[in-house]
């Protein structure tokens, strides 16, 4: 039996050794090399899904929802796991032709392990149909995308901007802020300017996938997930109704309008025509459509409020009047004789529209007498004009909270400018400067600058900072953030002189262009028509503010090649102001609108002229 005992011991030892070897092996895998294997298993089975938060919503000044988001879904295929036999099922569920799904799958199959979009922009209903069948559809998964949804009739194209997938260059620049491929990114306008605030913080979902690439469960019951944080909602200063109404007045026109509150610079409406429908950027954009927008001769991408530079024409006259009063060249009673032209050019070069006879400064504004203002600039040097003009915000880029690069500076000449432009003795002279008196010549302004200038006249000399955003609201906490803008500039302007300007501009509305007067609401305004190189017709320019006492709205309108300022531009401004102040326009003036539209339709301006405003 000793023999048996020793054999038992040997065999027990053998069992112990073999099980011991296995235990050591397990210890090596599970304790020593644990992290390697954990990495491998996580690589295999856990996938991170980026959760795009809804972008911030935009509300107008009255709380009307203008822009929010609609969740849409993108279906992805991972070719390695996909079963080709299921192509007919997929196309039936998506209501797409077999051939389309098959060709997308074939294209994706070149990179078998990379997820590729199979069908973008599908609705929740379509997605639900697919998910019901998901156990039969290996290699198919989806992501939520947020699509911008526009709720009002207002296009507001240039102010809003749009959202696209982040570009390669932007990705390089902003990768430190957590952007990755495929993230949405604001392009132009408010979407770009407030990208950081509106974007929110993307979250992550960790999900367990099985060997066929199907999501089988939340990883660790979602404990590792990071919820997405919604973007901030923007309360805009825009009046959606006014905006839509103003856009409707610009049908068949090229031009721009800016309405702002002269008390604080809040932008009530901004129109640049022609525009385009932002809705098309919410889908996959057909490159041909994109090209046609870019190549359109009327340049719809061009923001005519901030980028069009044009001569201010007679809208500049109040400024010249203010200068003449300010430097003491004239007073309220000083008169100038207008024989229908300024004598300097022997009646040929410096014409007036009419023979005004002896005329003072208020009357000169009221009748827009060229002779008076030629004479003023004959007496005053160009650099004095330059100083006042630049003080009033011309010749520099105004701050505007839509992508700063798209705002033009315009041009306000001074002697240095003329010396460079017309070198040599006698290269330039009084004639050039006199032309500036009526807003012609080398002067270039933008609609934004005109609107601020108008507001400054109306509000007693404060150069406001135009802006689109009143406040930003965190939708989760309700916390309100007031964006910071440059402080408005209080100019040292003489209120008595401003009152004279307003008196003349009041008479423009009351008498000279009486059809522009808003029934029941006294307003001030000034017409302008400016020569240009774009066509035969002058540009129609108009600035106005209403009510005359305690103004609530200041408007500048510019319509390319539409003739007199009291025509297209004046009518547009007048009706915008009426709509804003009353909420409707008086039917007694329907004929004024009809006439404007008739003129447009009989001679549509759209596409008749080559090249944009320069």
């Amino acid at each position: 039996m000793d023999e048996g005992r020793s054999r038992l011991r040997i065999f027990v030892a053998l069992v112990t050794v073999i099980l011991g070897i296995l235990t050591l092996r397990l210890g090596k895998l599970q304790i020593v090399e644990r992290s390697n294997h954990t990495g491998q298993s996580v690589n295999n089975a856990v996938r991170e899904w980026r959760v795009q938060p809804p972008r911030g919503r935009f509300y107008d000044r009255n709380g009307v929802l203008m822009v929010d988001n609609e969740p849409r879904f993108t279906l992805f295929v991972t070719p390695r796991y996909f079963d080709e036999e299921t192509i007919p099922l997929v196309s039936r569920l998506l209501e797409q032709p077999d051939s389309l799904i098959e060709s997308r799958y074939r294209a994706a199959a070149k990179n078998p392990f990379r997820r590729a979009p199979l069908q973008a922009d599908i609705s929740f209903e379509e997605l639900s149909r697919v998910l019901e069948q998901r156990s039969h559809l290996p290699g198919i998964d989806y992501e939520i995308t947020q699509k911008r949804q526009y709720h009002t009739d207002a296009n507001m194209t240039h102010a809003l901007g749009y959202v696209r997938e982040i570009s390669e260059s932007a990705l390089e620049e902003f990768s430190e802020e957590g952007y990755v491929w495929g993230d949405p990114f604001g392009q132009g306008g408010l979407e770009r300017q407030y990208e950081r605030e509106v974007r929110g913080v993307p979250g992550s979902d960790f999900k367990m996938i099985n060997i066929k690439g199907q999501v089988v469960a939340e990883y660790l019951d979602g404990s590792q997930d990071r919820p997405a944080k919604n973007g901030l909602d923007l309360n805009l200063t825009i009046d959606a109704d006014l905006q839509a109404f103003a856009e409707s007045l610009f049908v068949n026109k090229r031009g721009g309008a800016l309405a702002l509150d002269p008390r604080n610079g809040e932008i009530l409406a901004m129109v640049s025509a022609p525009d385009y429908d932002l809705e098309m950027f919410t889908h996959r954009l057909d490159p041909q459509v994109w090209d046609s927008i870019n190549a359109h001769p009327d340049k719809p991408m061009f923001n005519r409020v901030t980028q069009s530079k044009f001569m201010p024409g007679s809208t500049f006259k109040p400024l010249v009047a203010l200068l003449a009063l300010g430097v003491g060249e004239i007073d309220e009673h000083t008169t100038v004789h207008c024989p229908g032209y300024h004598p300097l050019g022997r009646g040929l070069r410096y014409k007036c529209l009419e023979t005004h006879g002896s005329i003072n400064v208020v009357e000169a504004i009221r009748y827009s007498c060229n002779t008076f203002f030629f004479e003023m600039m004959r007496r005053i040097d160009v650099n004095s004009l330059n100083r006042l003009t630049t003080t009033l915000g011309f010749g520099s880029r105004p701050y505007l909270d839509i992508a700063a690069g798209e705002v033009e500076r315009g041009n306000v000449p001074d002697s240095t400018y003329y010396n460079e432009r017309f070198p040599g003795i006698g290269g330039w002279g009084q004639g050039h400067v006199m032309n500036l008196g009526v807003g012609q010549g080398e002067m270039e302004v933008t609609v934004v600058q005109l609107a601020r200038y108008m507001a400054a006249i109306a509000n007693g000399g404060t150069l406001v900072t135009p802006h689109f955003v009143r406040s930003m609201i965190d939708p989760e906490t309700g916390e309100e953030i007031i964006p910071e803008y440059p402080e408005p500039v209080t100019l040292d302007l003489n209120e008595t002189y401003l009152e004279l300007l307003r008196k003349g501009m009041r008479q423009v509305m009351e008498e000279t262009s009486w059809w522009l007067e808003i029934p029941g609401i006294p307003a001030i305004g000034k017409t302008g028509s400016a020569q240009n190189s774009r066509g035969d017709e002058d540009d129609s320019v108009f600035i106005m503010s209403a009510p005359a006492e305690n103004p609530e709205i200041a408007i500048a309108v510019f319509v390319e090649n539409a003739g007199y300022g009291s025509g297209a531009a004046g009518r547009t401004a007048s009706f915008m102001a009426e709509r804003y102040l009353k909420g409707y326009y008086d039917p007694s003036r329907q004929w004024v609108l009809d006439q404007m539209f008739r003129e447009q339709n009989s001679a549509p301006l759209y596409g008749t002229v080559e090249g944009p405003t320069g």
Partner: protein, 419 residues
């Protein structure tokens, strides 16, 4: 005369029950976890099937405990004969599953006869040893024992179930060891297998092993002839393995064999190494205490194929960690050592051989199965006793245990005169 039996061994029985319960939990996790809706019908069915087979096993165990010792001794050869017939029948009428033609179907119930053959073979071997006069061990007797084992093994090889056949080959030295074969001869039988393993894993190790072993044998026997035979056998296997790998076998076969040494290598990980890479990822990522029941990402994602059968240890390793693995290893150790003790207690060659044979069969399965799951060995498809899904294997393994328990229960009935 009625006898009260009080020797039903609780230790082995509890270890068995614990292992079966762990197995059923692991099968549940592999087939009914959060991801199971994506599985085909087949693996999901494994859980309920295993429960059904467990029921059959319990009934069988009760029957085995009731049967007298004499029944097992008398029935040993007939059962062996039936086993051989079944193996032949499977070769002719059998259904092919996973490439092996080793399944016989009785209505809806499939029986893997190669599993059943283990029971019949061990019974026959035990009976042969039990009938022999004590203390005689000649070569003719040894050849008889080897023949009894190799006959079913050969049929199983013909069925193309090499993995199961390997278990029979492994049984040979164990049986010879317990029937009193000379230790030197035994070592000379086992050493070539170890040398062959090292030849695949690391050639320098193999050569060092061969040299050490020759020296060891010479030191033990002081016999030059034995040392030369040893050198020829072990060195020959190493040389053969080398020739086979470099010249005879096709690239694919070599890769299959070699891949386990580094399954994660670039050329293996997506094909022949895939099973083991993912099995190791599952087990290794379990860490100390595992990811928790139904929480294993590898298991629930179905990354390990055959995870309710041959690779079931990946489920335990991943979801219960090193702690859970250790529990399983301890339970196996308790069961195996207890079986050997029970056998030794019986003081009858038949009982000793059945107990040692059962323990040996389990040990081979455990070593190959967990060795494969942890990439210590190449992929050889055999189940983990009591844990893997598989009705035939559970029934066969439980039958062996039940016979040992039954024999031990009635060990005083053993006749010293055979039967």
């Amino acid at each position: 005369m009625r006898r009260r039996y009080t020797n039903l061994d609780p230790v082995a029985l509890l270890a068995w029950a614990a292992l079966v319960i762990i197995g059923i939990m692991a099968i549940y996790s592999a087939t009914h976890g959060p991801s199971s809706e994506f599985y085909q019908f087949n693996p999901r069915q494994n859980f309920s099937n295993q429960i059904m087979w467990l029921g059959i096993c319990l009934v069988g165990m009760v029957i085995a405990l009731v049967l007298p010792i004499r029944f097992f001794q008398q029935a040993a050869f007939p059962i062996y004969g039936v086993t051989i017939l079944l193996l032949l029948a499977a070769l002719v009428f059998g259904r092919e599953v996973n490439g092996a033609k080793s399944w016989l179907y009785f209505g809806p119930i499939g029986l893997q006869v190669s599993e059943m053959a283990k029971v019949g073979t061990i019974l026959a071997v035990a009976q042969v040893v039990g009938m022999r006069r004590p203390k005689t061990m000649d070569l003719r007797f040894a050849f008889l024992l080897v023949g009894v084992i190799m006959l079913p093994a050969a049929l199983i090889v013909l069925q193309n179930d090499t993995g199961t056949a390997l278990v029979f080959f492994g049984l040979v030295p164990i049986v010879l060891f317990w029937s009193g074969l000379d230790m030197n001869l035994l070592m000379m039988m086992i050493a070539p297998a170890i040398a062959g393993y090292f030849a695949i894993v690391s050639m320098p190790t193999a050569i060092i092993f061969v040299l050490l072993f020759i020296g060891f044998m010479y030191w033990r026997t002081r016999d030059t002839r034995i040392s030369i035979v040893t050198a020829i056998m072990t060195g020959g296997v190493v040389a053969l393995a080398n020739v086979a790998i470099t010249m005879v076998l096709s690239d694919y076969q070599v890769q299959r064999i070699m891949s386990f040494t580094d399954p994660g290598a670039e050329q293996f990980r997506q094909n022949v190494g895939f099973h083991q890479v993912n099995s190791m990822a599952a087990i290794g990522s379990g860490g100390w205490f595992g990811k928790g029941f139904l929480e294993g990402t590898q298991t629930q994602g179905g990354y390990v194929f055959e995870q309710s059968t041959d690779f079931i240890f990946s489920v335990i390793g991943e979801e219960w960690g090193f702690f859970g693995s250790l529990v399983v290893m301890i339970l196996f150790a308790v069961l195996l050592i207890r079986l050997l003790q029970l056998g030794a207690n019986m003081k009858h060659p038949f009982g000793v051989l059945i107990a040692a044979g059962a323990a040996g069969i389990y040990l081979i399965h455990i070593f190959i199965n967990i060795g494969m799951a942890t990439s210590l060995l190449p992929v050889i498809g055999i189940p983990l006793p009591f844990i893997s899904y598989g009705g035939s294997a559970l029934l066969a393994n439980t039958a062996l245990l039940a016979i040992v328990l039954s024999l031990h229960l009635k060990k005083d009935d053993f006749s010293i005169y055979g039967y």
